[in-house]
Symmetry: C2
Subunit: 160 residues, 2 copies
DNA sequence: TATTGTTATACTCTATAACTATA
DNA sequence: TATAGTTATAGAGTATAACAATA
């Protein structure tokens, strides 16, 4: 999350800029490639929204899910994020270590934790949501209103 | 790249399936989130196309770029991939170690390498391209022809 | 037996920074 | 001075496998 001067020229790492004089073959007409590039561009908007904070997309998603689904278990959180349980655990560890979330014992099942945002976590996620939403909308403004609706509809058909 | 039985229930890691009973808030109407989900779905098609081979998207892109741009330098390859030079170097090391690419000295600049596919690399990338293209088209077939064109157009506006 | 959380481990991707050889 | 490549290091994400406690 440090801001430093770059030591070399050219597009900065993570950039989606095309390089002059390079033959990209038919990569640009692959859905996977085009989606990946658009997703990288969207991530740049996310990075601006969370600049200076160690918040990454999975961490942001976890915070939003925890806010809307208090008491959720780590296993279910992992399913929502599409990751293995071990990943959900490390993510939870990170949130707990920073005082954003807490584990509470469940009366109904001694194996599982109930996950909750702390007061601090709720405050943080509230601010984050506003900023991420604004930057995401600004990113989408490269399209017109009808185009935005159509894009979300088409993406929804690809990933139901 | 090993195929084994999973030890737990639920959607497998990497899945985009929605979890029943979970409140996703307004995540689904974020462009970044929707793009990420669609990109994960597209990656699943890529993974099927390369099943059993240790080929990842960056490695595949590098192979295609090297085939179409023989003699390219590592620095330019890094710019095309949108990564730092060190990443392009490790990627090149991997390709070279597997006999897919080779470094040749340049007569015009003793600092830079010229990167080339080997005969073996050319054969591999030829087969890979067919398989990846077929699986990508099959993935895109969830949309109609007009929808496919429109999606690529909209994605092109988001990541020019 | 099955599930939850945990621990251990590994691999990929990506980045920064410092170094060298050359331009 | 600037650039190409290299090396070292680090963090994040993700995966599998095996284990203990609990259901």
């Amino acid at each position: 999350m440090k801001k430093t001067m770059r030591s070399t020229r050219g597009p900065r790492p993570g950039s989606t800029a095309r390089v002059e004089g390079i033959d990209y073959g038919n990569l640009p007409v692959h859905f996977g490639y085009a989606l990946k590039r658009a997703q990288i561009a969207a991530f740049e908007a996310f990075a601006r929204a969370t600049a200076g904070r160690p918040i990454t997309p999975p961490r942001y998603t976890a915070l939003v899910i925890l806010e809307a689904n208090p008491g959720i278990s780590q296993t279910v959180l992992g399913e929502v994020l599409g990751t293995a349980r071990s990943g959900a655990m490390m993510l939870t560890n990170w949130l707990v270590a920073r005082g954003l979330a807490e584990r509470r014992h469940r009366p109904d099942d001694a194996r599982a934790w109930g996950l909750y945002l702390t007061r601090h976590g709720k405050a943080i996620v509230g601010r984050l949501k506003r900023s991420v939403w604004q930057h995401d909308q600004h990113f989408g403004a490269r399209l017109g209103p009808a185009e935005r609706r159509e894009l979300l509809r088409l993406l929804g058909k690809l990933a139901p």
